[in-house]
């Protein structure tokens, strides 16, 4: 089903991604001329040695974090939209990110009782990833149970919002009963940031994203069959029950680990798959999955660049930027009457 325009679009996408990557490295509280960054790419050297430290030690891990988070969130959004056959599904909207938050909150509040700290290094970050993933999977399980009973997309969405609120309320209750230190630790985590990932944590992040991609790659074909609905998919030999589990595990790991490393990030998961459908004009998941990954990486790189407020020392929270970009996009999609047909 791939054809020339598709390959051409991918090529343009990769070029845009590289450009955004370079711009992202160049901008920040210290502006580095973009030609210097480009020059460093092809083996040159920076004219100031401090730039080397800034770029290698801080900005490159941050840019890679943005890329991984963009890929993880958009792919979990795409899977959820296809599986629930709901154009408004996404990890943030349906409360999956809140579930991850609950997992982390439980870990921080309970863990500190045993003298554990998020920053103790070594095994610490894996514990955060694991608890965030389990929290996501819990919400996803509840969502699938609901989707089984409820076929209407609006009802599912409202139930998802309620799950999100209930989980946030649980987190508030936990915070109320926790000590000042844990509360501070949790609050800092929940504000979210792409810049707090250490190079060794980046490896852990990469491994989790790859792990989350596995169930998805195995079932690529089945997602196409799901475009015709569960009954048709089953008649074409797709084990829908197994696919549901694959979707839950994959989305849980992807959204969970992104939330663990960067905090809750809104709207990427819901908006990017729609952007991919609009740009690539296809429903074929063999195109949509790489396309969503590419666009997700580009969008989050761009959002991160904006959040640096180029030329100033201030930084906006990444979640605020993605919401400012994503919310109007989703509103626009809903206001277009043929929304369900675009899906």
């Amino acid at each position: 089903m791939k054809n020339k325009p598709t390959y051409f679009l991918f090529l343009i996408g990769i070029l845009i991604c590289l450009l955004l990557f370079a711009v992202n490295l160049a901008s920040g509280s210290v502006l580095i001329p973009i030609q210097e960054v480009m020059g460093r790419f092809i083996g040159g050297e920076f004219s100031k040695s401090s730039w080397e430290t800034i770029v290698i030690g801080y900005r490159i891990p941050k840019a890679f974090t943005a890329i991984l988070a963009g890929i993880g969130l958009s792919l979990s959004g795409l899977q959820m939209q296809t599986f629930f056959r709901n154009p408004l599904a996404g990890p943030y909207v349906l409360g999956v990110s809140s579930g991850a938050g609950l997992g982390v909150a439980l870990l921080i509040m309970a863990g500190s009782a045993f003298g554990w700290s998020m920053y103790s290094g070594g095994f610490g970050i894996w514990a955060v990833v694991l608890s965030a993933t389990l929290g996501s999977i819990l919400v996803l399980l509840l969502m699938s149970l609901t989707a089984w009973k409820v076929k209407d997309s609006m009802t599912l969405l409202i139930v998802g919002l309620m799950f999100g609120s209930a989980v946030s309320a649980l987190i508030s209750v936990l915070s109320y009963f926790s000590g000042a230190d844990q509360l501070k630790m949790f609050t800092i985590w929940s504000m979210g940031s792409l810049g707090s990932t250490q190079p060794d944590q980046l490896v852990a992040f990469l491994v989790s994203v790859l792990l989350g991609l596995l169930p998805l790659l195995v079932n690529l074909k089945s997602f196409n069959a799901m475009l015709l609905g569960e009954a048709y998919a089953e008649s074409m030999g797709v084990n829908v029950h197994r696919l549901r589990w694959a979707m839950i595990v994959s989305t849980g790991i992807l959204a969970g680990s992104v939330t663990a490393f960067c905090g809750p990030i809104a709207f990427i998961g819901i908006a990017v798959p729609h952007m991919a459908r609009l740009v690539f004009k296809t429903g074929d998941h063999r195109v949509l999955f790489p396309a969503s990954a590419l666009i997700g990486a580009a969008v989050l790189l761009a959002c991160d660049t904006i959040s640096q407020l180029p030329g100033s020392a201030q930084t906006l929270p990444i979640n605020a930027v993605t919401s400012l970009v994503g919310a109007p996009m989703v509103i626009w999609l809903i206001l277009r009457r043929n929304f369900s047909k675009e899906f």
Partner: protein, 337 residues
């Protein structure tokens, strides 16, 4: 019935759902044999268990008693992957996506036959092209799904099922919501598929008229009764087709294959060509105008038709049945109910 053509059989099947230890029987004493090269129509009132029978055949729900056999093997022992190479379906679900073209939807039918990435081989392409050819949808193959009419949409879904290249094709009410021409077209298309490609085609339908015209075999389902199988012609002559009618108020007219009101109706005397008398009778019956009026004579005069009503003293002429009926109603001949 030829044994070698039979592909799917069941004897004394019970259908229904199990809830814990209780089982809810929807239909039982279901025996059938589905044959290749034949168009079989499953008829029955709503809620009698037609969809349950289809789901049982598809292996989605287990039978409560006995089993459905496909090629001598019970269907529930066959993996859904292998089953998807044997049975293709057209369901009532509506597919409405701007991001899928007709050809892409037909290509999805190849999913059971392709590798994990779903890349299409030359053979797959040929099967897809053939499916598009035999459903005559070449002219819309690049259109997005949401721009199709209901009739076109149904043909695309049939093409998708054909591309799946199965010996058995099951369709759940493929002609519902379609206009008369499309209903005929779809049923004749299905008949051609059964004949030309030697497939066993099973269609759930409520269109008795078209089913009589096209089907080789009828399966009649009625609450509490065993499944009745046979050719439509035999079932009509044996009077078994009346099983489809819920009570005595309606009956099946063997002479023209139409469902009629059973109550006897007395007509006035009508003279004229038989095919015209028929329609005047229909109008009289609808308006409940009985034999108390004098005779009616129908005459053709060139391209004009004249309806003559003889009253006690003189004869009145009408140009249309409507004006004749209007006259009679104003005179108060219609019996108030």
């Amino acid at each position: 019935m030829s044994i070698q053509n039979s592909i799917l059989q069941a004897t004394d099947l019970s259908l229904g759902y199990k809830k814990g230890s209780r089982s809810n029987v929807i239909a039982d004493h279901i025996s059938f044999s589905l044959e290749k090269g034949k168009l079989t129509c499953l008829l029955g009132p709503n809620g009698v268990g037609k969809s349950t029978l289809i789901k049982t055949i598809m292996g989605q729900i287990p039978a409560l008693k006995n089993q459905v056999y496909l090629d001598k093997k019970p269907t529930n022992s066959i993996s859904i992957k292998d089953l998807s190479k044997k049975i293709a379906v057209v369901l009532t679900e509506k597919i409405n996506s701007a991001n899928l073209t007709v050809k892409q939807v037909v290509s999805l039918g190849r999913i059971p036959h392709t590798g994990w990435l779903g890349n299409l081989s030359v053979e797959d392409q040929q099967k897809i092209d053939k499916a598009i050819q035999s459903t005559h949808i070449n002219y819309i193959e690049d259109r997005p799904m949401n721009e199709l009419s209901d009739g076109q949409l149904q043909k695309v879904m049939i093409a998708r099922a054909l591309a799946q290249n199965c010996e058995i094709l099951i369709l759940d009410e493929p002609t519902a919501h379609l206009d008369l021409i499309n209903r005929f077209e779809i049923m004749h298309l299905l008949r051609d598929i059964a004949k030309n490609e030697n497939k066993a085609v099973l269609v759930v339908t409520h269109d008795l008229d078209i089913a009589i015209d096209t089907a080789d075999e009828f399966w009649l389902m009625q609450c509490g009764l065993p499944l009745v199988c046979g050719s439509p012609e035999d079932l009509i002559l044996q009077g078994k087709i009346d099983l489809l009618l819920p009570n005595d108020r309606l009956h099946f007219d063997k002479s023209d294959g139409k469902v009629r009101d059973s109550a006897e109706f007395q007509y006035p005397h009508i003279d004229g060509p038989e095919d015209m008398v028929k329609w005047v009778k229909l109008a009289l019956r609808k308006n409940d105008i009985g034999p108390e009026i004098n005779s009616i004579t129908i005459k053709t005069e060139g391209i004009q038709i004249g309806f003559y009503l003889s009253e006690s003293t003189d004869i009145l002429k009408f140009d249309t049945i409507t004006s004749l009926i209007n006259h009679l109603t104003t005179l108060g001949y219609t019996r108030k109910k």
